[in-house]
Symmetry: C2
Subunit: 343 residues, 2 copies
């Protein structure tokens, strides 16, 4: 699809949403899965193990969970994550919770699906640092106990492939959703689920204009046609102190992927579900607190100066977007017998 057509779709999406700004959506009980990777318990079980296993990083110390900690808010509460050899990059780890509802993955949307995303960090030299995906797969094939899990999930005909490993991780991630937040219960009819302040904040969230981007069930934009993604410019208004103070324009966002001028400072719209537990904020993790993040967003995206009361109300509303975390058992990862695969 051409970038032009993509943006046309984006704007149609925005328009159609704007006319339904009051259509507050609860989080579905299940995340949608692509036709070629239906979610099965066997894939989810395997995917969780792969997600938690640090042995697929060069040092044996970094798993998906190291930066996208499912025992926390699906990230690491750091401005930027720390990969192998304590290296750090320029972008903050997005939460894995509810990432299944995103129209694209990575801050710059360079992966169209969770399956595609799952392959990225493994070979990123500052994340998991494996030279090539095959190197990681060789480690995986060196752990005999993984084979039966792949066979159960994908059949016995050469199941241990990069594609299948990515499918398993993606299937697991599609179970990482947080329904039944106070907001969800409110939207479903439980009027006592939100406090008065939270309802005020909810109304402000819409009337100030936050919902023009943070829409949909995960507040990460409207549902998009397959293959299209929802991007917005950030920051839009730079004639203020915040853009410099928080270095908001240093990273050009999607432009770094496409090298298309129209993509400069375009970003995937992140979910604000569980925002209260995923500080610090923004693509570079430069803003430490949620109230400051709300203040900055209103200014740099909508050119509005919120009152302290509005900020407090919206923060209260955002805190009502912390959902219920599914119970998970802790897997025992298949060992290597009498030897190590970590160099």
């Amino acid at each position: 699809m051409s970038p032009l057509r993509l943006y046309v779709l984006v704007f149609i999406g925005i328009l159609s949403f704007s006319s339904n700004a009051a259509e507050w959506q609860a989080l579905p009980a299940e995340a949608p899965a692509p036709a070629d990777n239906p979610t099965t318990p066997e894939k989810v079980e395997l995917g969780q193990m792969l997600f938690l296993d640090p042995r697929f990083s060069s040092t044996g110390t970094v798993s998906c969970n190291s930066c996208h900690n499912v025992m926390l808010g699906g990230e690491d509460n750091r401005a930027v994550s720390m990969g192998v050899h304590a290296q750090t990059g320029g972008r903050s780890a997005p939460t894995v919770w509810n990432s299944a509802f995103s129209s694209s993955q990575f801050w710059d949307g360079r992966a169209a699906s969770l399956e595609e995303q799952a392959k990225g960090p493994v070979t990123n030299p500052i994340e998991m640092g494996m030279g090539e995906l095959d190197e990681a797969m060789n480690r995986l094939r060196d752990i005999p106990g993984y084979k039966p899990y792949f066979e159960k999930a994908f059949g016995t005909d050469n199941p241990m492939t990069v594609e299948n490993a990515a499918k398993a991780v993606a299937a697991y991630e599609r179970t990482l959703i947080t329904p039944n937040s106070p907001y969800d219960r409110y939207v479903k009819g439980d009027e006592k689920a939100l406090s008065e302040q939270q309802v005020r904040g909810m109304n402000s969230f819409a009337s100030v204009g936050c919902t023009s981007c943070h829409s949909g069930a995960a507040f990460s934009g409207p549902a998009m046609s397959p293959g299209t993604a929802f991007f917005m410019k950030f920051p839009t208004f730079t004639d203020n102190d915040y853009a410099n103070k928080y270095k908001l324009t240093e990273d050009t966002g999607r432009f770094t992927v496409t090298k298309n001028d129209a993509d400069k400072h375009m970003w995937k719209v992140p979910t604000v579900r569980n925002a209260a537990i995923t500080a610090p904020y923004f693509h570079n993790g430069s803003v430490g607190t949620l109230d400051e993040a709300v203040r900055v967003m209103a200014k740099v995206q909508l050119n509005k100066d919120l009152t302290d009361g509005q900020v407090a109300d919206i923060v209260a509303f955002l805190s009502a977007l912390t959902g219920e975390f599914p119970e998970q058992s802790m897997p025992h990862l298949p060992p290597t017998l009498g030897r190590t695969i970590i160099k």
Copy 2:
């Protein structure tokens, strides 16, 4: 207690065990707990959370579990662990599984109890890197959701102390035991639990002399009186290629703690339970495979050259010491709301 008295006790322990070399012991279903820290479900629940929480390291990236991974063999399959800022030390992380049965903690036995051990890595500059324990406690007190867990475990009178945090972690670690290995089932009367080769290996393990140190239910030495610990010299025989090849004498062991010449190259006797899944081996992680570890141990401790058959038999026996891992749920760690405590 004077070092002399301690060693007298050690040697009494060895002598009393030698007379009962055939007294193979199964792992008890529960680990003993000290009188001032009885194991309770509330402490175990809290201790597991603290054990898994990376926010008590300076970078927010290293938890107890990072190096003592309970999803693996209770360690990290690395020669030496990687702490904050990717620093490494000179010693390999011992397994946390069945550490409750050790007469002391750390390779050099510098902690008499799991409670005392738990405080060490937090402030170690190359492990979790917190300047002081109080700094870690301040982070903990900054996470409001931990308070009810401390109150449930320790009462409401100022429960959030370093001592109580250490008690909770130790209580959790006392649940990290792996009973019902094939060896345990065999010792309890199930003659089919071990293969013929494993039985041969078991007999060799005793007749070669391994049991003179690796005795007791956890194969980490005999039960000791409280306050005493079981140390042995390693390597004992250095007139061979192994000592140099694997740098076995560079680290002086317990001497680094006591500065007492008699403690040079004295080490806590590590458990060999789950040895098959905790490669690489020895205090410095210098030996990559279990069969080589067996060969080296026989030579440098007993001055014996094992045949390949003996090595294979003993490895088969050691593999029968991999036990059952208790099912654990994955906790959701209390968040910090709208802010981060990681600098």
